[in-house]
Amino acid sequence: MYGKGLRPLSLITCVALTGAFALAFFYAPMDADQGISQKIFYVHVPMAIVALGGFVAGGLYSIAHLRTGDRGYDLKSYVAIHLSQILAVGTLITGSIWARASWGHWWVWDEPTLVSFLIVFLLYCCYQPLRFSIEDPERQARYASVFAITAGAFVPLNFLAVRLAQSYTHPRVLGTTDGLPAKMALAFYIAVVAMALLYVTLWKYEMASKHARNRLRSIRRGLGEDIGLTRSASPQ
């Protein structure tokens, strides 16, 4: 079910990412202040935006899970959060590299944007330990959903912190792209779309994989086999 349309989606994602990075390097002009290190912007910021969006999506799926009791939403939420965590790691590493190139420091502790993103990331690092410390699948799904909703609500605060922050060391992007030359803005928006496509593609891949594994497990149960399939910690 989730594997439907994955091939064209994967192709579109590859083309979009290649196109976005080609635009970033060959179409968008060089930044006069930061030079080539500003090119990190086209991978770092879209990753951060998509990661935060994914965390919120995880919270929304969890709301659907608590409202309907459908465990499928819990699985969707789990995969969304799991993928966002991976992108968040990428955001932190690329951000750190950009900080080193631009500011001469790998990390700046008095910068609200960086610290609040780190807090969001560390918050979500508690998601899996919390989830898998509960053995009962029903309780596990319910507690994980409550966590995902609470943490998901915290994510917009991270965004607001960027808006309200007094320090302007970290560049503002959303809402201030008026300051970007048109060519830079175009490359940036395409990079955001490409990153979102990558996220959706990987989400569908993982959902298809988990769905197939769960179907196999139920077939094996139906056959009366109690030998477990390949062990996995993810929800069913």
Binding site: F21, P29, M30, D31, A32, D33, Q34, G35, I36, S37, Q38, K39, I40, V43, H44, M47, I86, L87, V89, G90, I93, T94, I97, W98, R100, A101, P171, G179, L180, P181, K183, M184, L198, L202, Y205, E206, S209, A212, R213, L216, I219, R220, L223, E225, L229, T230
Partner: protein
């Protein structure tokens, strides 16, 4: 306001590193998915053999 320019200071190594990190993350994820797919295939073969064995019985 970001100003465009044609001058190109150094730091290209940092840019390469950042994009390589992204590539490594994506490739790492795809590799993990490929391993999972291989396990899934193994399980499917195992179940198919089980069903065939029962049919022969």
């Amino acid at each position: 306001m970001i100003i465009a320019s044609n001058t190109l200071p150094g730091d290209s190594g940092y840019v390469a590193a950042a994009y390589l990190v992204f590539l490594a993350i994506v490739l790492g994820y795809v590799a993990i998915m490929a391993i999972r797919a291989a396990r899934l295939e193994r399980d499917v073969v195992e179940i198919a053999e089980l069903v065939e064995g029962r049919e022969h019985e």
